[in-house]
Subunit: 422 residues, 2 copies
């Protein structure tokens, strides 16, 4: 047997959580989500940024030949998992909205907050005024924090520009950050995040602008992989959403949808009809929506940080989705208005406490299932030969400590493409 060369070996992990089921390609659905495929006293061998072997330390050591300049890392007493993946974020913006947070706590209404200069339009205003460099610097700080909390791949949306120029400015900042930062970004065009103030009286005109000008330009400049729409009462109607999704699909973009967040507007059904990769939020999704998502393979991306931060007692029916066989994924929804957190660890704790997901399920939802939610499941999200060596060593002996130990950061170190980056 020819031996595999290894330039990095992380060994003796108390638990090497691979998330990899050798019998199956695809996200983990239903009960599989609770199965993490763990090697005790495990090792992962890496060469050239890719994984070459995983298993028990003694087996991996037999299989590999050490490269001349090999790096051996002892993970004794520690858990090793795939790098976390955050499949729904809005990380490139300007300004902060802590004054709005304070007003909301004091019981001020959405309208009062908007009148006082808060709400999404305040961020739109700041982003329109900011130049690309500022947006990049702000985004870089957020990505640095994400990486320090164990996240190695992030979906990143535009949606605070809401003019062709400003949406492209945001997407270009995302593109450059993707080139410069250790974290990999998956860019999503979200021109349909809100009706901008100047189109409030004629939202269909804004939909036309998105379809006739923004999508073609974004695609021509190769600035997005996904197109997303905020389908919700008072934002984009199902009819308008359909028009945008059709156009985006025709232009070759993959689809995501902000679906059934506060009201069941048929968002999940639309996502299924269009074969969207994911439908996100889903607090108010109905049984029919769940059924159709299951049938069409749409991944539900749940965002428990948002209702937590907004102080709402509304939770997505996560257990029902898992029982119906859906591959639930989790994300931070990082944004300045409704979920100001970079930490997927925080989101895992919230999903355990609010959604009654198990520690195993939340880890699945933050790795392999999140990978498929950004169409990256072939490359990231699990530890298996051939996959990218994105992984986290945790200051914990048991993976269950990750959501249990809350509000902090249990990351010991982070590897991206085989390189130690934290």
């Amino acid at each position: 047997m020819q031996k595999l060369t290894a330039s990095l070996i992380i060994k003796n992990a108390s638990q090497l959580v691979t998330m990899h089921d050798p019998k199956k390609i695809g996200p983990k659905t239903g009960r599989e989500m609770n199965d993490l495929n763990i090697f005790k006293n495990g090792a992962v061998a890496v060469n050239g940024g890719r994984i070459v072997a995983v298993g028990e330390t003694k087996d991996v050591m037999k299989k590999v030949e050490l490269a001349k300049r090999v790096r051996l890392v002892d993970a004794g007493g520690k858990v090793v998992t795939p790098g976390l993946i955050d499949p729904h974020t809005h990380p490139v913006f300007a300004g902060q909205r802590s004054a709005e947070f304070e007003m909301r706590i004091a019981g001020k209404s959405y309208m009062e907050i908007a009148k006082a200069g808060g709400g999404i339009n305040s961020t739109v205003e700041s982003v329109r005024k900011a130049n690309r460099k500022t947006l990049k610097e702000n985004g870089r700080k957020i990505l640095d924090r994400m990486l320090s909390f164990g996240t190695t791949t992030v979906e990143a949306k535009s949606g605070y520009g809401l003019t062709t120029k400003d949406e492209i400015k945001q997407l270009q900042a995302i593109k450059e950050l993707n080139e410069e930062h250790k974290i990999d970004l998956v860019p999503t065009f979200l021109g349909a995040h809100e009706i901008p103030p100047e189109y409030k009286k004629n939202p269909d005109e804004y939909v036309s602008l998105i379809c006739a000008e923004m999508i073609p330009k974004v695609v021509a400049k190769n600035l997005a992989v996904f197109c997303d729409v905020f389908c919700e009462k008072g934002v984009f109607t199902p009819r308008q959403t359909r028009i945008i999704l059709q156009t985006a699909q025709a232009f070759g973009l993959k689809l995501k949808l902000h679906a059934d967040e506060f009201h069941n507007t048929g968002g999940a059904e639309l996502a299924a009809e269009f074969g969207a990769v994911s439908a996100d939020h889903l607090i108010s999704v109905g049984d029919e929506g769940i059924h159709l998502m299951h049938k069409e393979g749409v991944i539900p991306v749940l965002l428990p940080g948002t209702t937590f931060f907004l102080g709402l007692n509304m939770d997505a029916p996560a257990r029902k989705m898992i029982e119906k066989g859906l591959p639930v994924a989790l994300a931070t929804d990082l944004n300045p208005g409704s979920s100001m957190t970079e930490s997927m660890q925080m989101i895992m704790t919230l999903a355990c406490l609010k959604y009654k997901m198990t520690p195993a399920e939340v880890l699945t939802a933050s790795t392999i299932n999140a990978a498929f939610a950004v169409s990256g499941g072939d490359k990231i999200g699990s530890l298996a030969p051939g996959k990218q060596a994105d992984l986290v060593i945790w200051d914990a002996e048991d993976y269950r400590e990750i959501p249990y130990h809350f509000g902090g950061n249990l990351v010991e170190s982070v590897y991206k493409k085989g390189q130690k980056v934290r």
Copy 2:
């Protein structure tokens, strides 16, 4: 005017939050909690571990003379506050209880968890088996994390030994950690944390052991400042609590009380009767208890992390206490069973969201009021001439960002007695 010598000056802070009302000594009560005494473009000058001047940067610079080896720190665009104080924690233990966290999420009852080897007794068993060195190493790791999250003084309870020998072992570990670690610890004897298994049939005998043996020995060895009792249905009755408090007081210990957590058993009233420094938890406190605490100057220490972590929809009546003029303080309640967090930042966010406390109130509750809850208000908890130079520089322009930006760590650096320790 003779100038004051300064060996450290932190200047140009966007907000220097002093928490100091020059007209008043004591914790901030009621509406005062919302007033942080902020200097814009502020500076704090330090010499020999103590603060010598605070104010606007230009005024402070006029007042002081630079020492030969002065350290000048530019806090431009940043908030500076007193170091955070955590006035209720159980930081010295062995083992972790993430399996119990998982069982609770799955809906297992308290009894089922206890049968499966969970619950407080599992920690008692681990602590009894552990030697002092192990307890210290475990505690040190927790203190390191607390410091990294901006906490500079911590109240630390025993209560997992429940034999004279093991309680003293825990308190000695706390004493040595206090000597070795940058964080200052305020030790509390909590032999009355739980009825140990071997006394379940005769709890009064355990109360006698506490009073006749533990308290005298703890006091003789000078191992505690406070004595605390868990007064609750199924734990220590008001009658037993009274006996313990009387004894502790006679031996010169100050008092704290786990009061009215799940049931109103008259804990707050007892705390008031005995002139306890604080009554903690208080989820189920009644109007009479609040009235008497106010009358006797008992500080309510609220622990929102605990109900959050236990998944309970029970919240202490924080707003009512503030409106009645009480000086609310906050703490992590760090412990392996019901609140596994080191972060006072997390607790501040939870207090905003669950208790509807304002960002200013939660910061007051985590600094000056927490200082008085550990009888340290003359020395720590605010930034004023003569006080210890314990402070945090935050990666934020506005103090409201501290609870707003959740699940992470906005600390840029931490100073303890004028020394940079993070």
